[in-house]
């Protein structure tokens, strides 16, 4: 029983550590048109898939806006470690549509 719990716990921690979901909180901003928007920057770990990260970032910004967003910019920078582990740094900005 204890061994099972330990395996589940370690497995959970490893899965969390390997997750590529960005965990940074978006910061509010005023867009050029004077509307509410949000920006977020961070590092998506263990991935170099820009399309996947873009969707994750969009979802995060939509959650902050509480609805649809217009992604105004998203910039990626390769943050792969010296050992070759892939990471992707990003900075994104979006305007809330509603």
């Amino acid at each position: 029983m204890i061994r099972s719990c330990a395996i589940i716990l370690v497995g959970g921690l490893m899965a969390a550590a390997c997750s590529s979901v960005p965990s940074y909180r978006p910061a509010p901003l005023q867009t050029a048109s004077g509307k509410l928007g949000f920006s977020v920057s961070g590092i998506a770990s263990f991935t170099r898939d820009e399309a996947k990260v873009t969707e994750e970032v969009r979802a995060m910004l939509e959650k902050s806006c509480g609805g649809e967003v217009e992604l105004q910019s998203i910039v990626f920078a390769d943050a792969t470690s010296r050992g070759g582990v892939p990471h992707l740094a990003y900075t994104a900005q979006a305007e809330c549509k509603s």
Binding site: G34, C65, G66
Partner: protein, 154 residues
């Protein structure tokens, strides 16, 4: 002291509508005096409140030097990211009790925060201001300098 009292009196009357102006604009209704999320009056009030707080917090406000003072947007409700307010961020270097300068330190102030966390020098300044986006490109340093700088800046 009178200025401080007046500023806080004004805050109690106007600070609460500061966010409602933002909300109105988010919902599409035009805000008074500005096409942005916050009116110019709301920004001016936040600067005045920051000045009042610094006057009370610093040992020698008259000697204070400021740098990079900006107005930023900050979330004020963790459960609702759309609920935002204004905060003033910058660097301040003022004389201590011994009469010497300690070097520039980051400070923040927001009238929308709970009273105990309304303002701080160092401490939470990095948390509040670090990733925060500026409301505009204006440098409000002159507005906090002691003397008649507030009047001359307008």
């Amino acid at each position: 002291m009178i200025r401080t009292a007046l500023a806080f009196l004004a805050a109690s009357a106007i600070a609460t509508p500061a966010f409602s102006q933002a909300e109105e604009n988010v919902e599409g209704a035009p805000a008074a005096q500005s096409a942005g999320l916050f009116s110019d009056a709301a920004v001016d009030l936040e600067i005045e409140l920051t000045r009042s707080w610094l006057e009370l917090s610093l040992v020698d406000y008259e000697s204070a030097k400021f740098r990079n003072v900006r107005v930023v947007l900050t979330p004020v409700n963790r459960r609702n990211p759309r609920e935002i307010g204004l905060a003033v961020c910058g660097l301040v270097n003022a004389r201590n009790r011994m009469g010497g300068y300690n070097g520039f330190k980051a400070f923040y102030f927001s009238s929308r925060f709970p009273e105990a966390f309304r303002g701080g020098i160092e401490g939470f300044a990095d948390t509040v201001c670090g990733r925060a986006n500026s409301l505009n490109a204006t440098d409000y340093t002159d507005r906090l300098v002691a003397g008649d700088a507030v009047e001359t800046a307008r």
